[in-house]
């Protein structure tokens, strides 16, 4: 069922956390709310399930305005960051709880619980107490409790934050599998871009209570609308260079280096201040304009190495490429920059092209 936030506003006393947010999550879609800590992701999520009451605007499930519907009646499943399992109940009772409070007959509850437990692979843990489970198992229990009553929407608040790297990887695909199998509309809150990109159909990138961009992971990576989005997505992160338009070319700040504008970019007025975003994979690999610099940092990542190259003007470019023997710390190198792939932002951080 689609979710629509229409001019949604949330304040805590006098603190404005979300101001006039508009967001649509399509039916059956998994949407990531991605953003730095404190930007209002959890607040948005908790408002969708009415744990927080919104102070303005509307929230629609399908075509139904649920702004004034209490959380008990919104029919949402929520997975909390710390799982919020009921410590005094067995796993079975935990999962059965949403059905039990609906007064579903015991036989049917049993059937539903076992069905969902099979789906998330915890069928043999039902007798235990939450404290006797590992983090990943607790996570699955929380997921089954959220799903068992077939909610209209599934909300996940950093569900993988407490897991170790390997388990996180496993649960990532697990949650995605279950979401796709059930076809449920889901919102995933995360500050981990990899999680957002790998699990979700679309990403809504937030900062300071505002949505900066909503699009597919691929598009967001290649077509960020602002320098913040470009900087937030991508690992290793994008490098920025300052420059100014001179004679239809880009003159790097404090440097004689001139770079041509990418061919897709329309003519820019002379004297315009720009920021160039260069992703590490487009420097040092393909053919392009050679740039001189000094290796100031090397990070081994196994198959590839990450190099920081300090240019003559002090700016730093990042390059990721297969391990090579000819570039050690402090070496002078001359590597090609693929100028066609440069992202150009204006001095306000808005994308020019």
């Amino acid at each position: 069922m689609r979710i629509l936030l229409d001019n949604f506003t949330k304040k805590f006393d006098d603190v404005m956390v979300i101001n006039n947010m508009n967001l649509e999550v399509r039916d059956g879609e998994m949407m990531a709310l991605l953003g730095p800590s404190g930007c209002g992701k959890s607040t948005t999520l908790f408002s969708i399930c009415e744990i927080y009451q919104c102070n303005g605007g509307r929230i629609l499930f399908g075509d139904r305005d649920v702004s004034n519907v209490t959380s008990q009646h919104r029919n949402v499943g929520v997975v909390f960051q710390n799982y919020a399992l009921y410590p005094h109940m067995s796993i079975f009772d935990n999962i059965a709880f949403p059905l039990m409070v609906k007064k579903m007959p015991a036989e049917q509850i049993k059937k539903e619980v076992h069905k969902i437990a099979e789906l998330v692979h915890i069928g043999d843990l039902l007798e235990r107490k939450p404290s006797q489970l590992s983090g990943g198992q607790q996570q699955r229990v929380a997921l089954s409790r959220a799903l068992v009553r077939k909610p209209d929407v599934l909300l996940l608040d950093e569900p993988l934050a407490n897991l170790d790297a390997k388990l996180r990887l496993e649960m990532r695909s697990e949650i995605r599998r279950i979401q796709q199998e059930t076809g449920i509309t889901a919102v995933l809150v995360t500050h981990d871009q990899v999680e957002a990109m790998s699990m979700c159909d679309r990403i809504a990138l937030m900062d300071h209570g505002k949505i900066l961009q909503v699009t597919t992971p691929n598009d967001m990576y290649h077509n960020p609308q602002t320098d913040f989005v470009a900087g937030f997505l991508g690992n290793p992160p994008i490098a920025f260079l300052d420059g100014v338009i001179t004679n239809g070319q880009i003159q790097l700040k404090d440097s004689a280096i001139q770079l041509p504008l990418p061919s897709r970019v329309p003519v820019q007025p002379d004297g315009k201040i720009v920021r160039l975003g260069v992703r590490p994979e487009y420097f040092g690999n393909q053919a392009g304009i050679e740039l001189q610099g000094q290796v100031s940092f090397v990070e081994t990542q196994g198959r590839e190495n990450l190099y920081d190259i300090r240019l003559g003007n002090g700016a730093v470019l990042r390059s990721i490429q297969p391990v090579r023997a000819d570039a050690g710390l402090g070496d002078s190198v001359s590597w090609p920059l693929d100028t066609e792939q440069i992202l150009i932002f204006d001095d306000q951080g808005q994308r020019v092209a």
Binding site: F46, C49, E50, I51, S71, Q72, H73, R74, N75, V76, G77, V78, F80, Q81, N82, A84, L85, Y86, P87, H88, M89, F97, P98, M100, V101, K102, R145, R149
Partner: protein, 437 residues
């Protein structure tokens, strides 16, 4: 290593052990010791003497095990002039001429009444001039043991034998123990206690008192904790403060307020009087209202403890668990029933057992309000023990009996504690150490 940890643990425990010893074991042991004596105002708490009084003779007579003649002989006042009596009189400085006169004319004679003997004395030539001195001199020859104090049982036995009254061995012992004024070891306290119908009334009152006040404390404490939890924080702080007032006000003032509220010239009667309801003393006017007042007085004091403990326990439940239950579709009642109450098991166990124990032994608010009245209807065990041992109108304090009552209370308290530990599976709750070692 193990050994060292053991010693260290013992070291840490020592203050606690000393406390238990000083403040619990020793009083309990003392109570137990006193409970098996008949100490009281009559006996004192140090040793005693032997004193046979006409009253004791009458009591022995009522028992009906004695030969009537020997009892009459015991209580009769016989006079005989003996060398022993003369010697005593001489050593007390009576005139030797008088003593000589007595020896000459009366030695060996017996008189069965004081009057006769005094008449005989008046015929002696060198008798004292003053009547009082004469009467006093007669006492050297009294052969009765009535109303005389004997410091040891040997003295008393000698005196008893000297009276010449024929007593069987058992009769002799009975007279001996009946005239002892000190305390003795006995189990009579317990047999008396359990055979007295009043005891069972008081026991039943205690049961009613503990159960009602306990239910009120826990129920009302829970109610306050839950309602204040769902109130906005400012209001809940206010309500909690209001319900703390009974706890922090001095008991005497607090009960005074209740008296002012419930007496027949008090607030309730006055207000109801405006509507034509006749004035009524709610504190002592009827058994039902007296109980209601007793329960409320104690209940309002005790509820604050539960309220505070339960409130903080509710606050300690992670917010996200409450959120989860809400989005899972639980309404308020289901949230309380399935999420909050189960997590209050510990504080409820604690408050229930603590309150039960303190109620078992508490009587101060009853003492200040109804004093167990009307009649004996709100009298409880601890109050009865207090009256018996420490304070009553007759002034006849029975320490031993009171201690025996207290001992019953202590035993009951220990049993109740054990019962609670079983009931709430206490060992299950504490069995597994949170930090493994």
């Amino acid at each position: 290593m193990r050994q060292r940890i053991g010693l260290l643990g013992l070291g840490f425990m020592t203050p606690a052990l000393v406390m238990v010893l000083v403040f619990f074991l020793i009083p309990v042991v003392m109570t137990a010791v006193f409970g098996f004596t008949n100490m009281g105002t009559a006996t004192g708490i140090s040793g005693g003497e032997y004193l046979l009084t006409p009253k004791i003779v009458k009591q022995l007579e009522i028992r009906g095990e004695f030969d009537k003649q020997s009892l009459t002989a015991l209580s009769s006042n016989r006079y005989q002039v003996t060398e022993a009596g003369l010697a005593k009189a001489a050593s007390d400085g009576l005139k030797s001429a008088y003593i000589q006169g007595l020896r000459d004319s009366l030695l060996g004679r017996e008189y069965s009444s004081k009057r006769d003997f005094e008449r005989a004395l008046k015929k002696i030539k060198d008798r004292p001039r003053k009547v009082r001195a004469l009467k006093k001199s007669a006492e050297y020859f009294s052969q009765s043991i009535l109303n005389r104090r004997y410091l040891t049982d040997h003295e008393f036995k000698t005196a008893l034998a000297a009276t010449g009254v024929q007593l069987s061995a058992t009769e002799f012992d009975q007279v001996l123990s009946a005239s002892y004024t000190g305390w003795i070891w006995t189990t009579d306290n317990f047999t008396n206690m359990f055979s007295k119908p009043d005891t069972w009334v008081v026991a039943f009152n205690t049961l009613v008192y503990v159960l009602l006040v306990l239910a009120f404390n826990i129920g009302f404490g829970l109610f306050l904790a839950l309602t204040t939890f769902y109130l906005p924080s400012g209001q809940s702080a206010f309500f909690r403060a209001v319900w703390l007032l009974p706890r922090i006000s001095p008991p005497v003032l607090y009960v005074l307020l209740w008296k002012w509220l419930t007496w027949d010239t008090g607030f309730i009667s006055t207000v109801l009087g405006w509507f034509g309801v006749p004035a009524f003393n709610y504190m002592l006017g009827s058994v039902g209202s007296a109980w209601a007042v007793v329960v409320l007085i104690n209940g309002f004091v005790g509820a604050s403890l539960g309220m505070i403990l339960f409130s903080s326990a509710i606050q300690a439940i992670p917010k996200s668990i409450l959120y989860a239950s809400e989005v899972d579709g639980a309404n308020r009642w289901q949230q309380v029933r399935y999420i909050i109450l189960p997590q209050l098991r510990w504080p409820i166990l604690f408050t229930t057992s603590y309150t039960t124990l303190s109620l078992l032994t508490s009587f101060e608010y009853i003492l200040l309000s109804t004093e167990g009245g009307p009649g004996n209807t709100t009298n409880v065990w601890a109050l009865e023990a207090y009256f018996t041992a420490l304070n009553n109108y007759a002034g006849n304090l029975k320490y031993g009996y009171g201690a025996a009552m207290a001992l019953v209370l202590v035993t009951l308290g220990v049993l109740v504690s054990l019962l609670y530990l079983r009931l709430f599976k206490f060992d299950e709750l504490v069995a597994r150490p949170k930090i493994e070692n």
